[in-house]
């Protein structure tokens, strides 16, 4: 049995192919002009990598902001459901999921059967999303992938007082001009982002255990800062946290066949 999940987000498109419940292939790509094209391109890459044809996949579930436009999806499921299912399949003890993507952040509470009990979502304000880090990395002239490493080199504790991305960017530029060190600024930014995510989480209550997913979860600095903000250890996610939604969609696809 071979199934796939396809998650078309606002910034990246993800595909996970499962063969007999195991990941056979996974791909993350930057979105292109339209959701249709993003879906086709990311799927092409994933099947080529697995050495199969689209027809070899028995069932495909689509999700994400562009889910309605995925030409090859057999059906679609909400992002919240897919994220819940993805995490629950891998870490059944998790009750709270914090997901920070490129343009949104969500916190999902699930019960002991993986059913969503509550969730909260922010896609209105760029603060608290991956875009916050992208803009700050630009201002600091560093690569977003290096931010985790910088975090570990921080010596002085800096407090970023502005929540708004636009105001925080000016604040960062002032800090650079004052001669503050990049690692210290990066660490301060991670704490600010983590605090923002934590207050979103606290608005619906945090029940352990907690998993952290989405592209931003790859940043070890934010990971550590979020552990401190939530005063709890986060579960190690066994797969790339960015493909969690696509993985959940694939899990749902496999259940559909059984």
């Amino acid at each position: 049995m071979r199934v796939a999940g396809c998650d078309i987000g606002s910034l990246t498109a993800k595909v996970v192919i499962l063969k007999d419940q195991e990941i056979e292939s996974k791909t993350v790509q930057r979105c292109v002009s339209t959701p249709e094209k993003s879906a086709e391109s990311v799927m092409d890459h994933a099947i080529t990598q697995a050495g199969i044809k689209l027809a070899d996949i028995d069932y495909i579930v689509g999700t994400g902001y562009g889910q309605k436009k995925i030409p090859f999806a057999n059906h679609t499921e909400s992002e919240i459901t897919c994220h819940a299912q993805g995490v629950f399949a891998l870490l059944p003890k998790v009750r709270t999921i914090v997901d920070i993507g490129g343009q949104d952040a969500k916190v999902v509470r699930i019960n002991d059967r993986g059913v969503v009990s509550r969730y909260v979502y922010n896609d209105k304000c760029a603060s608290g999303t991956g875009r916050f880090l992208e803009i700050m990395a630009d201002a600091l002239e560093i690569s977003i992938e290096d931010m985790g490493t910088y975090h570990d080199q921080a010596k002085e504790k800096l407090h970023i007082s502005n929540q708004c991305v636009i105001f925080a960017e000016s604040e960062v530029i002032s800090l650079i001009n004052e001669g503050k060190e990049t690692p210290d600024i990066v660490c301060g930014l991670h704490i600010a982002l983590a605090n923002r995510a934590a207050s979103l989480a606290k608005s619906i209550g945090v029940e352990p255990k907690v998993a952290f997913t989405g592209g931003v979860a790859k940043n070890s600095g934010v990971f550590k800062a979020l552990e401190r903000s939530l005063k709890t250890l986060l579960e190690e996610y066994p797969i790339d946290p960015q493909i969690s939604g696509a993985y959940g969609a694939a899990v749902l696809a496999s259940r559909h066949i059984q």
């Binding site: 209105k124 304000c125 760029a126 929540q163 708004c164 991305v165 636009i166 105001f167």
Partner: protein
Amino acid sequence: MSVVAGCDVGSLTSKAVILKDKKIIASAIIKSKAKPQQSAEKAFVQALSDCSLDQADIQCCVGTGYGRNQISFVNHVVSEISCHAKGALWLMPSVRTIIDIGGQDCKIIKIDKTATVQNFLTNDKCASGTGRFLEVMAQILNIEISELGGLTQKSRSPITLASTCTVWAQADVIKHLNDGVPPEDIAAGINAAMANRVSILVRSIKPEKDICMTGGVAKNQGVLSVMEKILGQRIKKIRKADPQMAGAIGAALFALEKM
């Protein structure tokens, strides 16, 4: 004879005004510098030279604005809210609700006929609905912020911006530009978004007439007319002086009282 001065150090611009017997004899507006002290000094010196006076001729000077506590030459400091209230009432005696949009904040102030503040609301947490929003957008359109209002008047089919957040709206504007939408339609959409955002704040305080607008954005007719439509109320134009000077004028009036 009384000669007093008011100095309003804002985040983007700094203003100084000199009153002689309650009449404006000089004023200056400059782009704020790195330190409030430098900004205040530059604006003050410019205003003094405008009326050929020396600092020694000023009997009392009051400072206001976000940098007010860092100006060495002022005799007193007064909060921005109080100064705007006093300045606006002097500019327009019938005013009871003041909408002040500054470079990095927005204040809605309700006053009585003596300029006593009855209630006020501010937003300085989110760039949307402040001058900063327009500044960011003007930059993308590659025009001066002062050109936004005029451009709006040429628009035939304004765009609608989907997001309130300055960051998301920025991406939206870039997309419209790439799609070949005329700049005037984008400018009109930007001004409408700004007006929408500020109107939410204005409504929540239940504005009473007359309503006036102060701060730099008051000169942007595009924002003003959309706000009138949304609020269903007239916003009276200040004609006695530059509406951006309201805070500095209020400060100077306080100086007169404190002499």
